[in-house]
């Protein structure tokens, strides 16, 4: 573990992170070890977010730095960690185009070791079905900011049921007006209030401690 790298990552010092990754690489430190340090740093970022020392702006920046650093190591795939925790499929439900929250969640999830498939906004049920068949995720996420689209999530989850796909995936939902009552109404498994919580729940559902 490189303390210097862990610290630079935790402090969001972009230049220092990139320099240190290059230096470690030049010293032939294995990519996986470098990634481990970066992830240790990301863990601290997550903690600072929970403790309200960091906010979404810092969370997004950390994800960006992490992604840049892993590019230097040949991308997440190159580092052999592409699906360290498995695949997470996510989109904003059809009729809804809000994507600020969704983009934060996907960015943070991918920098926390998940292979993220982002389906975009205004996503029809058929696209979720297709993505679940293709990528076999254990967890999917549906973002929704409009009460007028609650019935669409409900329809989507019912279709997953009909298609025999529901029992193998946990469905997380989130977005401004979504709450426990919504979760119950649409038949999802859990509501996450923010990106950090999404990381925690997905880890739990994917069996990562």
């Amino acid at each position: 573990m490189s303390n210097k790298l862990v610290e630079a990552m935790a402090d969001l010092n972009e230049d220092a992170v990139l320099e240190e990754v290059k230096a470690l690489k030049a010293k032939n430190v294995p990519a996986l070890d470098i990634i481990a340090s970066l992830q240790e740093g990301m863990g601290i970022v997550g903690k600072r977010f929970e403790e309200k020392e960091y906010f979404l702006s810092e969370l997004i920046m950390s994800a960006e730095i992490f992604n840049e650093a892993s590019q230097l190591l040949g991308g997440m795939g190159g580092a052999g960690t592409a699906s360290k925790y498995g695949t997470f499929v996510m989109g904003t439900i059809y009729d809804d185009i809000h994507d600020i929250g969704k983009n934060i969640v996907t960015t943070v999830m991918s920098s926390n070791g998940f292979n993220v498939i982002d389906l975009g906004v205004d996503v029809p049920t058929a696209k979720y079905v297709e993505a679940i068949r293709q990528y076999k995720p254990k967890v999917i996420g549906i973002s929704c900011l409009l009460t007028t689209a609650f019935d669409n999530i409900k329809e989507c989850i019912q279709t997953l049921e009909k298609e025999g796909l529901r029992k193998d995936v946990k469905v997380l939902i989130g977005g401004g007006p979504v709450d426990e009552a919504t979760c119950k109404y649409v038949g999802a498994d859990h509501v996450c209030r923010n990106a950090q919580e999404t990381v925690e729940y997905s880890k739990k559902y994917m069996g990562v401690q």
Partner: protein, 373 residues
């Protein structure tokens, strides 16, 4: 039976008192509810697009059916709503099914290089160039709407309604302040990274944009003197640390409020997202000249512990409660709010907008609570 003119006078007096944080016989009621009202009044959401006079007539019928509502109008025409969001509009009746809510599809054209364009030539220039290039249809829509807007605003007046923030000709600050404008133009993720990577550049461009917008604001308030100016700031919630909020958001927000008050108007603080962390800031605004208007996300009761007595309240039934809740739950929420802040300066409303699919009986429960039924 009161005439429309008498009703309008009564509504205006009540609203003025509430804005000034004074006692009223009952809270005045305002609903930002176009997509709900048009249906409740017998039309389709697409009527607002395809035949705005008829669509707005349906909204008025909807208001009348709900009871003695104080505010209504000045009128809705969805195709022009994208103008401030650097967005293409998809609207029901054209791009979407009849009773679907319109979509505001942000194009996020702004690049890092564009900060320099804004610093050199201004944000107005930048926005106009964008509109010419990417939203050519908007100009035609504006031309179509320009002569209709005053006509439709008059329909609401003739039915006895007043507006909180002017009749469509009144000024409002760029939605969400300059930060909000940049967020739409650049995209929130990119902007949040820019303020960490190139904070000085972002600040320089924001200052240029603010110079323009604050000048326009002062001129417009002086000219139109609306009861309140629709103002607010994006960037609340969990986006920024307090340090960044104090640097990029609050100074301009505070300055807008000062300008509006200096020019003799009041502020309707339209506060998107959660303001729990920033309530103390609002105490810096002049007393009895602002209306605190959260969107259902901020804890209204905790806010009241600090702001009650300092400003009026607007609020703030949550959209999910209006859609999934029961009339009893809605009524109970409104009563609780009225018990806490209702003896003066309360404007009864919902958080930001009434969802198109709110249960009619839930909206009726809001009105019943406010009318003391």
């Amino acid at each position: 039976m009161k005439t429309a003119e008498e009703l309008r006078k009564e509504h205006l007096e009540r609203l003025k008192k509430a804005v000034a944080n004074e006692k009223t016989d009952r809270p005045p009621i305002t609903l930002n509810a176009d997509a709900f009202l048009v249906q409740y009044g017998g039309g389709k959401v697409s009527d607002l697009v395809l035949n705005p006079e008829y669509g707005n007539e349906c909204c008025i019928k909807g208001l009348q059916k709900l009871g003695d509502i104080d505010c209504g109008g000045p009128g809705t025409y969805p195709p022009v709503m994208g103008a401030f969001a650097f967005a293409k509009m998809k609207v029901p009746g054209r791009d979407l099914a009849d009773n679907m809510i319109w979509q505001i599809d942000e194009l996020r054209p702004m690049t890092v290089e564009d900060y320099d364009v804004i610093i050199d030539k201004g944000f107005n220039y930048y926005s106009m160039e964008f509109q010419k290039k990417y939203l050519p249809e908007l100009e035609k829509e504006m031309e179509y709407w320009a002569p209709l807007a005053p006509k439709i605003a008059q329909m609401y007046k003739d039915a006895g309604y007043v507006t909180l923030s002017g009749d469509g000709d009144a000024p409002f600050t760029i939605a969400g302040g300059v930060f909000g404008g940049f967020m739409s133009a650049r995209g929130s993720k990119a902007l949040l990274m820019d303020i960490r990577r190139i904070p000085d550049k972002v600040m320089a461009a924001m200052e240029v944009a603010y110079e323009e917008s604050s000048k326009a604001l002062r001129e417009a308030v002086r000219k139109f003197k609306p009861l309140t100016v629709f103002t607010g700031a994006a960037g609340a919630g969990d986006f920024l640390s307090m340090k960044d909020f104090d640097k990029f958001i609050f100074p301009q927000f505070k300055n807008d409020v000062d300008i509006i008050v200096e020019e003799g108007s009041n502020c309707y603080l339209h506060l998107d997202l959660c303001w729990d962390r920033f309530i103390d800031h609002l105490l810096e605004f002049p007393k009895n000249r602002c209306v605190f208007g959260p969107d259902g996300t901020t804890d209204m009761f905790k806010a009241a512990d600090k702001l009650y007595g300092h400003m009026a309240f607007y609020g703030d039934v949550h959209p999910a409660l209006l859609t999934l809740g029961t009339p009893d739950e809605v009524y109970a929420y409104c009563k609780k709010l009225m018990d806490r802040v209702g003896d003066k300066g309360l404007i009864m409303s919902t958080g930001c907008s009434v969802p198109a699919n709110a249960k009619p009986e839930n909206v009726e429960a809001v009105i019943a609570a406010a009318l003391g039924k």
